[in-house]
């Protein structure tokens, strides 16, 4: 839920609740005041009756008025308790049934009224007095005041909501900008997170923190890279020494079978160590985009060269190679392009069985290399570093490197298993998202 929505929800709920409560209190207060007002009027009227009766020793004349009715009824001595009541007031019309409306009523209508029941003794007769005043105007007044108040409150609420929305959106803009920058952030990139202009302290702080964090992440990443590069570099010399010592060692004559087997294994291990190290160095270079040189390469020619290069190995493993190559020109580092294609063909050979098949297809859109091999599809992790199938003696970096190269070129590299063929597709139009 967006912050604004959440804020508004809380805001509206509290406002409505508070408004209801105040509305009720307000209504009660006004009607209490106005009722008391009416009651006072009734009391005045009662007093007038008492005064009149005290002076004249008879009940006053009853005259009709528009908003007051007084009735006297004879009652049993002491049966009347003085009290105020809410009652109905029968209002007579000036012109009976003037508009032909209200036919069910004769010549008037009932309205809300307030009454006072009292008693008086005139002579030896005991009378019940009922004074009723119409309070319809009072109620109208209350209703009007109430409506205006509610209207004002609602209008205020609306204005608040709109301004909140506008202001909040504007105020939070720096936050969204920072988020956008964060989303674009890539440790391998050199692009800095820009300072976002804001006068809100919190956002400025956030921006600072984010910038610092990005710088730190980038710095750590670079450190790690530098470390990998340095470590690999430092390894080169000892590997060179071992290699040269082995070369020297095999010049000494007379080895037993056992010794030569051991030496062979040593050679193999050193050569693997070397390849692994070279691969790591290469990965660092690709990721740091240190290989800048670019040239026009005709991929068809490059693939053909590679096929010739691997000819003997195809023959040796008795692999059937089918290829269909169209011209495709790319502008890229030739060194990397060679590594990419040689890696892919290498894989197709290494994970093939004797007498298997390799199909290479190059079109303007994609390079597809298919090979027979195990009858199970490969897991998704094949592109992660140091993932190796059991029994593989590769470095486990070949496909990682290939994918990095594709990313570097703006291509994508994907794997698919169909009809028994392990298929690797380099798509020239789809950009590989690189994860680090």
């Amino acid at each position: 839920m967006r912050l604004l929505a959440k804020y508004n929800r809380v805001n509206i709920i509290t406002t409505i609740v508070v408004m209801l409560i105040t509305g009720i209190i307000y209504y009660q207060a006004i009607s209490w005041i106005l009722t008391r007002q009416k009651d006072k009027e009734l009391v005045v009227e009662e007093r007038e009756i008492f005064e009149y009766a005290g002076l004249n020793h008879q009940l006053p004349q009853i005259f009709e008025s528009n908003d007051q009715q007084i009735t006297f009824t004879q009652a049993k001595q002491g049966s009347v308790t003085r009290q105020f009541i809410n009652t109905m007031y029968f209002k007579k019309w000036d012109h009976p049934n003037a508009h032909g409306k209200y036919r069910h009523r004769k010549n008037g209508e009932y309205e809300s009224g307030r009454g006072l029941i009292s008693s008086i003794t005139v002579g030896d007769k005991y009378y019940k007095i009922l004074i009723i005043e119409s309070i319809v105007e009072t109620e109208d007044l209350i209703r009007l005041i109430f409506t205006i108040t509610i209207g004002v409150i609602l209008f205020l609420l609306l204005v608040l909501l709109v301004t909140n929305r506008l202001i909040l959106n504007r105020i939070w803009q720096p936050f969204y900008n920072i988020m956008k920058e964060l989303r674009l952030f890539n440790v391998a990139d050199t692009k800095e997170i820009p300072q976002i202009a804001t006068d809100v302290d919190e956002f400025e702080e956030l921006n600072h923190t984010v910038t610092d964090m990005a710088a730190k992440a980038r710095h750590d990443y670079k450190d790690l890279k530098t470390f990998t590069e340095n470590a690999s570099h430092e390894l080169l010399t000892p590997i060179a020494v071992i290699n040269s010592k082995l070369d020297t060692l095999i010049q000494t004559e007379n080895f037993s079978d056992r010794q030569s087997k051991l030496l062979n294994d040593l050679y193999g291990a050193v050569s693997r160590l070397n390849r692994l190290n070279q691969s790591l160095l290469l990965l660092v270079k690709i990721e740091n985009r240190l290989l800048h040189e670019k040239q026009k390469i005709n991929l068809r020619e490059l693939v053909e060269e590679m096929i010739i290069q691997f000819e003997e190995i195809f023959q040796d493993k008795d692999l059937k190679l089918t290829y269909n190559l169209e011209d495709k020109e790319i502008v890229a580092s030739r060194y990397l392009a060679e590594i990419l294609i040689s890696n892919l063909i290498n894989n197709a050979i290494r994970h093939n069985h004797s007498g298997g098949e390799i199909i290479i297809n190059l079109t303007g859109e994609q390079l597809m290399i298919q090979n027979t091999g195990s009858d199970q599809p490969l897991p998704d992790e094949i592109f992660t570093r140091f993932h190796k199938s059991s029994g593989s003696e590769g470095s486990g970096l070949g496909l990682t490197i290939s994918r990095q190269i594709c990313g570097n070129f703006g291509f994508s590299l994907d794997y698919d298993f169909k009809d028994g063929y392990h298929t690797f597709i380099v798509d020239f139009n789809k950009h590989q998202k690189l994860f680090i």
Binding site: A240, V241, L246, D257, K285
Partner: protein, 225 residues
């Protein structure tokens, strides 16, 4: 043939020296920038094997100094840096070749021999080994005047063997020489065997002696005996 090895890593320097020391070769070594400068100013060499990172200075400066003084010595740079920029810089400054560490001694020997061949024969294009004559420009191999048709790789292999004659060349080194670093065949070098078999057969059919011998299953040796 006179060779100077400028390399600070003792183990590597000794191995190279030992590999190149044979009858008729003089090998000298220098382990620092200063020692190297002294030697190159005193003597001339057929080939100088030059490491770039040296205590006391940079191999590139030695190369520059050699070129400024118009020394005719062949120069082969050996460096741990495998980047195109470094390679181009070295070659632009006048180095004859650039070899990335780690390397096989047989590869180094083949490169050095190629440099010396280019320098000493001065464009002459014949390499003769007993009854084998190799025309380096036309890339033709003759045994007693009769042409032997070799594939590109077989030809490269023959040159490699002759440069390393009398030495055991490992299968690893052969594979890397012929197929480059890209070859990653999990140390299964069986396919080399059929290659060697072909080249031997072709040479012997042309009346050539059998010079290539298998050496303890580790590699092959090209030898006169």
């Amino acid at each position: 043939m006179k060779i100077l090895i400028i390399e600070d890593e003792e183990g590597l320097r000794e191995s190279i020296e030992e590999y190149f020391s044979e009858a008729g070769n003089i090998c000298e070594t220098a382990d620092s920038y200063q020692n190297a400068m002294v030697k190159i100013n005193l003597y001339h060499y057929d080939c100088i094997i030059l490491d770039i990172t040296l205590p006391g200075g940079n191999g590139i400066d030695i190369l520059k100094s050699l070129k400024e003084k118009n020394h005719p010595d062949g120069i082969l740079i050996i460096s741990a840096k495998n980047s195109l920029d470094d390679r181009l810089e070295g070659l632009n400054l006048g180095a004859d070749d650039y070899l990335v560490k780690p390397f096989h001694l047989s590869e180094l020997k083949a490169r050095v021999m190629a440099i010396i061949r280019r320098k000493t024969f001065n464009g002459s294009n014949q390499l003769i080994f007993n009854e084998i004559t190799i025309d380096l420009l036309a890339k033709e191999v003759r045994v007693d005047k009769s042409l032997v048709k070799l594939t590109r790789k077989e030809y490269a292999l023959l040159l490699y063997f002759i440069a390393n004659k009398g030495k055991v060349v490992s299968k690893n080194a052969i594979a890397e020489h012929l197929w480059g670093d890209g070859i990653d065949m999990a140390n299964n070098f069986d396919f080399i065997y059929s290659h060697i078999k072909n080249i031997r057969k072709k040479l012997m059919e042309a009346g050539c002696g059998d010079y290539i011998q298998a050496a303890y299953g580790m590699g092959y040796k090209f030898t006169e005996q």
